[in-house]
Amino acid sequence: MADMKKLPVTYPMITSWQWHATLFSILSDDENAKKWIFSNYIQLRCYNIQEIFTGDDMLLMDMMPGSSSLKQCPYLIFSLLTKAQIESYCGNIIDFIIKTIDLNGYVYGVFDEAKILCDAEVDYKFPHELFIYGYNRDEEVFYVGDFTFQDHYSYNTVSFSDLERGYEVITEQDDHVFKDDHKGGRGLYVVMKNTEHPTYELDIELVKENLREYLNSQDTKNHFRMLRNRFNDTTFGIKVYDKVLSQIDKQLHAEEPDFDIRALHVMYDHKVLMYERIKYLMNHGFLKYNQETLDEYHTVVVNMLTARNLLVRISITGEIESSVRFKTYLDAAKEKEIGILFKILAELEDN
């Protein structure tokens, strides 16, 4: 075994959730993978859940495919290993991760990041997904990607011993990745790149269908009910703008206003990716190159970013009266986006 190995990563184009940051860390500079990425991530959906850690009401926003993207992306090879398998095959988690990285496998799963971050013993857990892409035996560290260490997505190191502690204390109940998707249990994902051959071409029919469903706020999840049918109160497409406004309005008028900007961050990432998609479609002949359209869509990106930043500012200063401007930015983004995407859909349907 080598003393040190780092699998390739690129700082991700979008970072809103750990599963997206992981997939884009592995794939976002790959030209084949872009064909799948730009065929997907068009539909937005949101629903209310209870936050895992606090129990607070939370609007969970995501692009489709959501957290299942690591399993479903054809440019990745996905394996699931239970804790029992890991122990049986390798004896301990450190050897397992090192051997997996030696075989070019990235590791993803839930660890207690309170154990990883705090030197002192703490009586609470912070179970969170961690993305592991390398190791250094001399320094006894793993190279990881996560949001927890610097309050934004970043690549850091975690010592072998902290990571082992963070792994061992997670129970089946704490492992929300396995609980949600794999009928309980405890384990990790191994993800490998599968980008050598173009196994998935840009699917322009899927792009058109996704754009139609996004613009008409149609229920895209109905296509996938054979896989999952847990949620029936989901809002789709353009209507998520109204849902997010209503959620923020509720938070603004609470006795102690407390803002959750995650939904807005997902919407901002959605606009960033849509801008890149439009550019890609123009550069690859699916749309006529039109700088004016790109510039106009860029104002959607800017207005979403400004809305998000203004909400951060309000949360710091408590200037609730500024929320009038927040609605203005969101409304401007929505109106402009509808106009541009209908125009793009019409051009794609004419071709």
Partner: protein
């Protein structure tokens, strides 16, 4: 206000908001060198507004507008001019 005074006062703001930062190089990358992110930048801007009695527009809250603390000082200087 002289440029040097602006830099000195801005350094005080940075140390108040991000006490973990030691010596400040006004030309170094604020993201790579000092770990400033979109939220901490807005904290810095809000504190700078109060310190210098200036106002930043909503569009000026974007992290992409500032590569260095020197860029932030330059924006403050423009507002004070």
């Amino acid at each position: 206000m002289e440029k040097e005074q602006i830099v000195k006062k801005l350094e005080e703001v940075i140390h108040d908001v991000m006490p973990e930062i030691g010596d400040i190089n006004m030309s170094a990358s604020i993201t790579n060198e000092y770990g400033v992110n979109s939220v901490s930048l807005i904290r810095l801007i809000v504190a700078a507004e109060s310190k210098f009695d200036v106002s930043f527009t909503d569009y000026e809250l974007a992290l992409s507008g500032y590569d260095t603390f020197g860029d932030l000082a330059a924006t403050v200087a423009e507002k004070l001019a």
